[in-house]
Symmetry: C2
Subunit: 360 residues, 2 copies
Amino acid sequence: MARVFNFGAGPAVLPEEALLEAQRELFDYKGCGMSIMEMSHRGKEYAAVHEEAVANLRRLMSLPDDYDVLFLQGGASAQFAMVPLNLLPPNGVADYVNSGAWASKAIREARVRGRVNVIADTAKDLPTRLPRPEELAFTDGAAYVHITSNETIAGTQWKSFPRPAAPLVADMSSDFLSRPFDPRAFGLIYAGAQKNLGPAGCAVVVVRKDLLDRCPADVPIFFRYKTHAEENSLYNTPPTFTIYMILLTTRWLLAQGGVNGIAERNRAKAARLYAALDGSGGFYRGTAAPEFRSDMNVTWRLPSEALEEKFLKEASARGLKGLKGHRSVGGIRASIYNAFPPAGVDALCEFMDEFRRANG
Amino acid sequence: MARVFNFGAGPAVLPEEALLEAQRELFDYKGCGMSIMEMSHRGKEYAAVHEEAVANLRRLMSLPDDYDVLFLQGGASAQFAMVPLNLLPPNGVADYVNSGAWASKAIREARVRGRVNVIADTAKDLPTRLPRPEELAFTDGAAYVHITSNETIAGTQWKSFPRPAAPLVADMSSDFLSRPFDPRAFGLIYAGAQKNLGPAGCAVVVVRKDLLDRCPADVPIFFRYKTHAEENSLYNTPPTFTIYMILLTTRWLLAQGGVNGIAERNRAKAARLYAALDGSGGFYRGTAAPEFRSDMNVTWRLPSEALEEKFLKEASARGLKGLKGHRSVGGIRASIYNAFPPAGVDALCEFMDEFRRANG
């Protein structure tokens, strides 16, 4: 079968160029007589991979020197726990915005550790939406403010970020490096790799260095950001192959013109798809409020669940895969991350048009 | 360059067959039109990988039904923290055997969480050794007893395991599935994948189900074994590609006759190498006491550091790679895990003989 269009929400499509290079090098990395998977994380070949991956990430974000970039395991779910462990002192309070399923998971985890103030809750709103920054009433003296920059399931995305006095912490798992942002507005950013960066098995954490010292002494050494920052993410054996794939993906991103280049392409893909929803005479109904529509995850409904099932089946037969909405909400979802090709959006829009004419 | 003999301690050599199959399938997994790395962890293709990997591990261990097999991220270092978090109650005490560098790290982490009783300490003994099971005086009412089945740096390995009243917990990172053992003797076993199982980025945890309920309520949800046991290691996105490589490696292990088959091969490889040390008239001096010699990591010294450096340089030029001892102890170390081919041991022994005759 030819390469399909993979609209899956994650683990998600990777750049073809990155996959083909990984395949070529898999058995014998640059003539070393072994796979990159078989190499010591202390050896010079892997060290070059690790360093270039960090450097590329820094360059893509224009990251100032007072921030560290870490590669940690456990994805965003581990970060839901590590953020309060490291940043929420025993008598402190953390502000959380509950914007949907992923924010809810972060809140649940933070409550195990300490006091949480949910300063806005749009998780159950329909159409799905986010609070506007001016709707947020921050807690005085909060340890930090936590947001989810893009809700993968709801298909919503912050278009401008709040600017609290406390450090802003963002789960950027599903839109990291998909658009420009000012890192100085954040105290800590984390992102699971498996949407815009590489395969599953690694989270990138970007942390302002002054926050590393906030961690209480009762936190396990392994779950302290400082432990990993001091060792350049080599305190323990890192997920070397996953970081190698992140390297290949960041190289590809730089070749696309970096974050500005990819953002332009991402906006065009999303605009084309939202135009198809809006121009369908109500046959396809977008589930997100227009001002919060995500450029990464486009979500919509059809007139009936039976039609949705038919839509998914026929789409799949044409090589348009992974369009089923999250099991918790149903409907259709097209995830169109950085590596998703514009031609796939074109193919989907053509199919949507045909399907509407045949079933509308 | 042809494939080298990779004696590295980890990430380590993988079966050639597993690497070649992964390479063939990397761009298009079984005609699906996408890479296994790009697939949803909830889809049927990945589900089959996950299930077979668990089933193969159960089969290789002849694991009884009252044990769970988990795939967790963070390697053994995360387990150093998770074991006390889950199993050491606030007023309890845990017994630890300090047998070397890895046990020391586990102890350091456990002490952050609670009271630790080091019931034996051979970490600084030379020749490197382990306590004999009968030397251990267990603490009455200990929450668990922790050992390190194989010390990668010291080159020592438990030949028979202690049988305390408390649950026995073993870090088997460097000899998991290299020899038969009775899982019923253990409450919990963990092993980072990157030595005998696959690439870095995953630890296999084998846990007796009754221990899952011991976890105190103040432990983050993500760091509770129960969270992952209840969801078959799919609570969050697992490291899918790493688990796929574990699947290929376990298939290969089964084809070698399972753990009994591979153990026979491992014993023969180690015996050949120790015979080369012992028959060298004192030129090569094994660093481990003979009764505790590891079949996985063979460690020795030469008459001088200058000769060791020369040895490593000439070995490397012949394609015998990764023989340098751990930076904390120096000397030579040959890691000969499951996937390390017997022909590599033959080549090393031949080289050692020549080198001794030229420099002895």
